[in-house]
C-alpha cells in the first residue's frame, strides 16, 4: 500500500515543488477566477495523461510516450528557467504567460509518470470492497492531501524569501531536467533512434541509477527553502513606547503564523522523507538470507554434518569456499518431522533463478528471486524452482559431502572471495590470487587462472593435458 504513496511522491513531488516556486513568482495573488483556471489546467492535464496512456497502451507505444512527454517537460523547464532569468518586471509577465501552459504540460508529465509506475499493479485483488483496496485509496487520498499542502506551503515560503526563490527554482528546474532528460535519452536508446555507443550507455545508466534518489533531492531543496525562510524570518521589532500594545500583538501573531507555516512545511517534508526511507530501506527490500556457517573440509576432503544438528526442521545454511574463490552456499533441511529425519541436501541456488537463495518464513521455504514457495518434502528433488540437489552420502547419523562435489557447484554461484595460493597456474604452477590473476578460463565448469598470456594460450591449446594434471 505504501507503493502508491511512494509512486505519488516520485511522480508529483517535482511538479509540486516547481509549481509552488513558480506561482510565488507570479505578480498578483491568485484571485478566484485565475485560481479556477489554474486548477482547470492541472485537471485537464491529468485527464490528458490518462487518455494518452490508454492510447499508448493500446498501440504499444508506451516507450514513445516515455520519450515525448519528458522531452516536452524538459523543454518547458528550459523555457521557464530563461523566463526566470529576465529582469524583474518582464520576468513576472513571462512567468504569468508561461504558468498555465506549464501547469498543463507538467501535470500531463506527472500523471503519465504515475500511471506508468502503477500500470501493472492492482489496487485490489477482488471486486468486493476489502481492506487492501481501502488502504490503497486512503494512502492515495493522504498523499494527495500532503502534496497539496506542500504546494501551498512552498508557495507561501517562496514568497517570503525574495530573490532566493529564483535560485531555488533554477535548482528545482535543473533537477527535474536531469530526471526527465535521462528518461528521454534512455527511451531514445531503447527505440534505437540514438546509437547505443558504450559511452552513452554508461552515462545514461549512471544517471538512471540516480533516478530512485530524485525525491531525496527534491526534499533537500524543500528543506533548503524552509531554512531560507527561517533565515529571512522578520524579527519582532523592539517593543518601543511608540508601538501600541495591540500592534505589537498583531506583529507577534503574524510571526507566529509564519512560524506555523514553516513548521508545517518542515514536518510534512519530514513525513515524506520518512515515507521514502521506510520504503527504500525496509518495505521494498527483498528478504535477507540467514547467515551461512563457513565450513572447511576435514583431512579426507569431506564435510560431515551430524543429522542431529539439522533435524529441527529449520533451514541450516553453510558456505564453502571453493578453490577458485567462489563462495558455495548449500543448506540442509529436514523434509519430515524431527522424529523421522529425511535430510534434504541442496545448493542454495535455483537452476532457473540463480543464486539469490532461499529463505525460511515460518514453515515455508521461499525462493528469494521468484517468490515461489517450495514444497518442503520435495526438497532434494530436481525440477521447477527447487534448489539444485547436492550429491551426498547419508546415514542415520551423519551427512557426508565430498568437496569435489562442492567444487562442481562453484559454477552456480557468483559471489567470490579473495583466496590466495589455493589456485595455481595449471601451466607454470605459480601461486595466484583469484581476483587479480591476469587471465582466466572456464574449462568444463571449472575456472582456471593464469599468470600470463603464454600459459593462458598453452592451456587453451591443450586443456586436457593441464586440467588433469592440476586435479
Amino acid at each position: 500500500m505504501i507503493f502508491y504513496l511512494v509512486s505519488m511522491i516520485h511522480a508529483f513531488l517535482p511538479e509540486v515543488f516547481l509549481f509552488g516556486l513558480l506561482l510565488s513568482q507570479r505578480d498578483a495573488p491568485p484571485k478566484d477566477r485565475r485560481f479556477r483556471l489554474d486548477v482547470g489546467a492541472i485537471l485537464t492535464g491529468f485527464a490528458g495523461a490518462y487518455l494518452l496512456q490508454r492510447i499508448a497502451l493500446w498501440s504499444h507505444a508506451t516507450t514513445h510516450m516515455g520519450v515525448v512527454l519528458p522531452a516536452v517537460a524538459t523543454g518547458l523547464c528550459l523555457l521557464l528557467g530563461s523566463a526566470l532569468a529576465l529582469p524583474a518586471p518582464s520576468r513576472q509577465t513571462a512567468v504569468r504567460v508561461l504558468t498555465r501552459p506549464a501547469l498543463f504540460l507538467l501535470s500531463i508529465q506527472a500523471m503519465a509518470d504515475f500511471l506508468a509506475r502503477t500500470t501493472d499493479r492492482t489496487m485490489t485483488s477482488t471486486a468486493v470492497v476489502n481492506t487492501e483496496l481501502i488502504l490503497n485509496i486512503g494512502m492515495m487520498a493522504g498523499g494527495t492531501g500532503v502534496l497539496l499542502a506542500v504546494f501551498f506551503l512552498c508557495r507561501h515560503a517562496a514568497g517570503r524569501i525574495g530573490e532566493h526563490a529564483v535560485w531555488l527554482a533554477w535548482l528545482a528546474l535543473l533537477s527535474a531536467m536531469i530526471l526527465w532528460g535521462t528518461q528521454v535519452a534512455l527511451g531514445l536508446l531503447q527505440l534505437g533512434s540514438l546509437d547505443a555507443t558504450g559511452a552513452r550507455l554508461t552515462f545514461v545508466a549512471k544517471l538512471t541509477q540516480l533516478a530512485p534518489f530524485a525525491p531525496y533531492g527534491q526534499l533537500l531543496l524543500i528543506a533548503l527553502l524552509v531554512g531560507l525562510s527561517y533565515a529571512k524570518h522578520p524579527r519582532l521589532s523592539a517593543a518601543s513606547e511608540a508601538i501600541r500594545t495591540a500592534d505589537l500583538r498583531k506583529q507577534r501573531s503574524r510571526l507566529l503564523i509564519e512560524r506555523r507555516w514553516r513548521t508545517t512545511l518542515a514536518v510534512l517534508t519530514g513525513v515524506l522523507l520518512a515515507t521514502m526511507l521506510y520504503n527504500d530501506l525496509y518495505a521494498s527490500l527483498p528478504p535477507r538470507l540467514s547467515p551461512a556457517i563457513e565450513i572447511k573440509p576435514d583431512a579426507t576432503d569431506r564435510i560431515q554434518i551430524k543429522v542431529d544438528d539439522v533435524r529441527d526442521g529449520k533451514l541450516h545454511r553453510y558456505a564453502y569456499i571453493s578453490g577458485d574463490g567462489h563462495r558455495v552456499r548449500f543448506f540442509l533441511i529436514n523434509r519430515y518431522d524431527p522424529a523421522h529425519a529425511q535430510i534434504g541436501v541442496v545448493y542454495d541456488a535455483c537452476k532457473l533463478c540463480g543464486d539469490q537463495g532461499y529463505v525460511q518464513h515460518g514453515n515455508e521455504i521461499i525462493c528469494v528471486a521468484c517468490n515461489v514457495r517450495i514444497f518442503v518434502p520435495s526438497i532434494g528433488k530436481a525440477g521447477g524452482c527447487n534448489p539444485i540437489p547436492l550429491p551426498h552420502e547419508a546415514t542415520n547419523e551423519v551427512i557426508t559431502i565430498a568437496t569435489a562435489e562442492l567444487e562442481k557447484g562453484a559454477r552456480y554461484f557468483t559471489e567470490t572471495v579473495e583466496v590466495e595460493v589455493a589456485v595455481a597456474d595449471p601451466v607454470t604452477g605459480a601461486a595466484l590470487v583469484n581476483l587479480t590473476a591476469a587471465f582466466k578460463y572456464d574449462y568444463r565448469g571449472r575456472m582456471f587462472y593464469f599468470e600470463n598470456q603464454n600459459s593462458y594460450d598453452s592451456f587453451k591449446d591443450n586443456p586436457e593435458k593441464y586440467a588433469t594434471k592440476s586435479e
Binding site: 497502451l57 504499444h60 508506451t62 500500470t119 501493472d120 499493479r121 492492482t122 485490489t124 485483488s125 477482488t126 471486486a127 468486493v128 470492497v129 476489502n130 481492506t131 487492501e132 483496496l133 481501502i134 488502504l135 486512503g138 535455483c350 532457473l352 533463478c353 515455508e364 528471486a369 521468484c370 517468490n371 515461489v372 514457495r373 517450495i374 514444497f375 520435495s378 528433488k381 525440477g383 521447477g384 524452482c385 527447487n386
Partner: protein, 427 residues
C-alpha cells in the same frame, strides 16, 4: 483560543448535540454493519487470491460446460467423458511437479441405500499410493489436500473394499453412525460398506457417502475412470510481473522474462496440467470467491444504495438540528462578526462542532454496528464475522462527512446574517 471556544460552545449546546450524535451514530451503525459484512468477505477473497496455495480443478474438456453446476447436480454418468486414473501420474510429471502438494481424483454417482431412495456417492483417494518415477512411495489423497475435511471416527483405508465415510447430513437423515453397515446399490453393482467415520466439510460432501475410489468404480462399472481431479499446488499469486507479461511479453526485459518464466503462477501450473494430460481443462477454484463472494458481490450495489440513503437521511437530520442551532445563536454569530471575525472563522467553529459530532457519532455507531454485524453474520451466514479494523476509520470518516454535509447548507446562513439585525433589537 479556538479550541477553548469550540469546547465551551460544544458543551453549551449539549442537548442538541446529543441529538445530532444519535442521528449520526444510527446511520454510522447501519453503515458499519453493511461495511463489516462486505469487507469481511472481501478480505477473505483477497486473501484467497493472494494466498500461496490454490486448488486446481481438472475435468475432461467436454465437462467444462457443466463446471458451473458442479457439485450441485450429480448428473447421470452415462454418455459422459472420463479421465483415466492412470493419467494422474502425468500431473506429477509437469515442470512444476514439486509445487504440486497433493492430488485427489473424484468419481461421483448415486446409489440406493435400502428402501429410501438414492444418495450421492463420491469415490476418491484418502491416502493412496501413487508411485512416481522419482518417488516410489508417493502417497496422496483428500487427507492431504482438503484440510477442512473433518472426520469423527476414522478415515477409511483406500485398499479396503468395505469402508466408507458418511456425510454428516446423510448420516442424520439415514440414521447412520460409526460402525453402521450399508449396502450401496449402483448402476453396475453393489458394495456393502462399514461407516468408519462421519464427515463434515461444510459443503456438498456433507450430503454424500464418501468411499474409496475403487468401490465407486466397481458399483458404476467404470473401472480405471475418474470424473474430475482436484490438484493442490503451491503457487505465486498473480503479481505485477505476471500482469506485465499478460499485457505485453515484448515489454519484459530479458531478466524479467526469465523470472516470469520460472515463477509458479497458478495460471502457469494449470496450463502445464492441460498440456500434460490430454483433453482436460484445468481451472483454479476459489472457495470464498464462489461462495460468499458471489452473494456479497451481487448485493454490494444494494449496500451502496442503502449507505447513501443512510448518509443522506442522517445529513438531513443533522441539517435541521444545525439550522435551529444557528438561528438560536444568531446573536453570538452577529457579535463575532462585529468583533471582526471573518466569515470563514465562524464557519470553522460550526464545522468543527459538526466534526466533533461526526467523530463521536462515528465511534458510537461503529460500536453498535459491529454488534449488529455479528448478529447478521450469525443469522445469514451462520458464522461470526471478523470485525475488520479498517471499518473504524472508514466509518468515522463517513460519519464526519455526514455531519459536515448536514452543516453546509445551514452554515450558508452565517454568511447571510447581518450583525445589525441581531445585535440591535430595534430599528
Amino acid at each position: 483560543m479556538f479550541f477553548r471556544l469550540l469546547r465551551q460552545s460544544f458543551l453549551a449546546g449539549r442537548r442538541r448535540k446529543v441529538l445530532a450524535v444519535v442521528t449520526v451514530s444510527l446511520a454510522a451503525a447501519l453503515i458499519t454493519t453493511l461495511f463489516d459484512l462486505s469487507v469481511d468477505v472481501g478480505d477473505k477473497m483477497a486473501r484467497e487470491m493472494k494466498s500461496y496455495g490454490s486448488n486446481i480443478h481438472v475435468v475432461p474438456k467436454s465437462e467444462v460446460v457443466h463446471a458451473g453446476v458442479d457439485g450441485v447436480g450429480y448428473n447421470p454418468l452415462s454418455g459422459r467423458d472420463f479421465l483415466d486414473e492412470k493419467s494422474l501420474v502425468d500431473i506429477k510429471e509437469i515442470f512444476w511437479r514439486n509445487n504440486i502438494t497433493g492430488i485427489a481424483p473424484f468419481l461421483k454417482t448415486t446409489a440406493t441405500i435400502g428402501p429410501r431412495g438414492a444418495v450421492p456417492v463420491i469415490g476418491t483417494y484418502f491416502n493412496h499410493p501413487l508411485p512416481l518415477p522419482d518417488d516410489e512411495n508417493y502417497r496422496t489423497g483428500v487427507t492431504l489436500i482438503n484440510g477442512y475435511w473433518n472426520v469423527t471416527g476414522r478415515w477409511p483405508r483406500d485398499d479396503a473394499s468395505d469402508e466408507a465415510l458418511a456425510g454428516i447430513a446423510v448420516a442424520e437423515e439415514r440414521g447412520l453412525s460409526v460402525g453402521s453397515r450399508v449396502t450401496l446399490q449402483g448402476t453396475a453393482g453393489a458394495a456393502t460398506v462399514v461407516i468408519t467415520g462421519i464427515l463434515s466439510t461444510g459443503t456438498d460432501e456433507d450430503g454424500a457417502i464418501v468411499a474409496p475410489l475403487a468401490i465407486v468404480q466397481t458399483i458404476t462399472g467404470l473401472a480405471g475412470k475418474v470424473q474430475s481431479v482436484e490438484v493442490a499446488a503451491l503457487t505465486v499469486p498473480e503479481n505485477e510481473l505476471s500482469r506485465k507479461a499478460g499485457r505485453d511479453k515484448e515489454a519484459l526485459t530479458p531478466m524479467e522474462y526469465d523470472l516470469w518464466y520460472c515463477t509458479a503462477y497458478v495460471s502457469t501450473i494449470a496450463h502445464q496440467i492441460e498440456e500434460a494430460v490430454v483433453n482436460v481443462s484445468a481451472r483454479p477454484v476459489w472457495q470464498v470467491a464462489s461462495g460468499q463472494g458471489v452473494v456479497i458481490g451481487k448485493i454490494q450495489f444494494l449496500m451502496l444504495v442503502v449507505t447513501i440513503a443512510a448518509f443522506l437521511s442522517a445529513a438531513v437530520g443533522v441539517s435541521s438540528l444545525m439550522n435551529t442551532t444557528i438561528t438560536e445563536r444568531a446573536k453570538e454569530i452577529g457579535l463575532m462578526k462585529a468583533l471582526g471575525a471573518a466569515d470563514w472563522e465562524i464557519f470553522l467553529l460550526f464545522l468543527s462542532e459538526a466534526t466533533v459530532i461526526g467523530l463521536i457519532g462515528g465511534l458510537v455507531g461503529s460500536a453498535v454496528g459491529s454488534g449488529l454485524s455479528q448478529l447478521v453474520g450469525l443469522t445469514v451466514f451462520g458464522s461470526v464475522v471478523a470485525i475488520p479494523w479498517i471499518g473504524l476509520p472508514v466509518v468515522i470518516v463517513t460519519a464526519v462527512f455526514i455531519a459536515l454535509a448536514g452543516s453546509i447548507v445551514p452554515c450558508r446562513a452565517i454568511a447571510r446574517l447581518l450583525p445589525v439585525e441581531v445585535l440591535y433589537g430595534r430599528h
